[in-house]
Amino acid sequence: MRYGISQRFPTLKGRLAALGGVVLLAGLTLAPGAGAQTLASLPTVPSTITAGAPARAIAAWVDFCQSYTAECAVDTAEPAQITLTPATWNTIVSVNRRVNKSLRAVTDMEHLNVADRWDLAEDGSGDCEDFQLLKRKFLAEAGLPRRAMRMTVVIDEKGEGHAVLTLITDRGDLVLDNKTSAVLPWRQTGYTFIKRESQSTVGWVSLGRATSPVTTANR
């Protein structure tokens, strides 16, 4: 029997607050448990994806931005990069893991009978982009600069388009994904990177021919 977050917390605010509370609690209490992956395990030489020319925005993202304006706003006064500290790292790992565990993965067609819809998984279910949007919301609430957390489109191991969240950090570009709870340097994902949200304006930029050479997220 499915028992989604929506059934337990009838209002959107209540659901997000509850999930946020779970994530925050996890961050405070379980952070050492997230310790399978440590900050020290990241590559010593940071690798970043080079952003290119403006790219066409995704239709469902445009709709999302009309409904959730603050989620898409770009504040150029914010840092363009996250400075990773052990505390920040633990927050990232915890939020990634908790959102992946808390939401039920379902396609938009199965869920809403539409090809693509971006939202914050208010009813406890969503597909790839919804997971990442919710992670970004929680991370921004935890104090990370939204400008350094960019929604990104890749081609996955099945040859399909897939949405992940790129964190632009002083230790390189890291990828949050609903297919794995490991926070991976972009080169270790095995994905082909297509485009991501701009850091300077409300829009998208191409990621040229960026292909990560190694695949670990084969799910």
Partner: protein
């Protein structure tokens, strides 16, 4: 046993073949199916060509021979929700390079 008795299981099997295996809701092959078909074509052609030529030549030959299935895959990809035609045109060289690398290393280190 009547013809109808035999026809029913055959019809069921036909339906199973037509409507299963990851096809999209409309019954058309999805992006992953097209990608799988391209990958299978490359693998098959490379296996044939590599017996006659070097691995690099065999890989190039397989990529040429499988252009129709590559185009079918890219066409499906370009109509998927997250990726458009411009994205596909821009990223195609990277995908071809990736496919070539996949053939040359025998798929050992990474999937296509």
């Amino acid at each position: 046993m009547t013809i109808r008795d035999r026809a029913l299981p055959a019809l069921s099997l036909l339906c199973l073949i037509l409507f299963s295996g990851g096809a999209s809701a409309e019954g058309q092959p999805g992006v992953a199916d097209r990608h799988g078909a391209w990958r299978a074509c490359l693998h098959r052609n490379f296996a044939l060509q590599v017996a006659l030529s070097s691995r690099v030549i065999a890989a190039d030959s397989a990529l040429r021979a499988c252009r129709p299935s590559e185009q079918a895959y890219l066409a499906a990809l370009s109509t998927s929700p997250l990726v458009d035609g411009d994205d596909v045109a821009r990223v195609r060289p990277a995908l071809i390079l990736r496919a070539k690398g996949w053939l040359l290393d025998g798929g050992a280190s990474r999937p296509l």
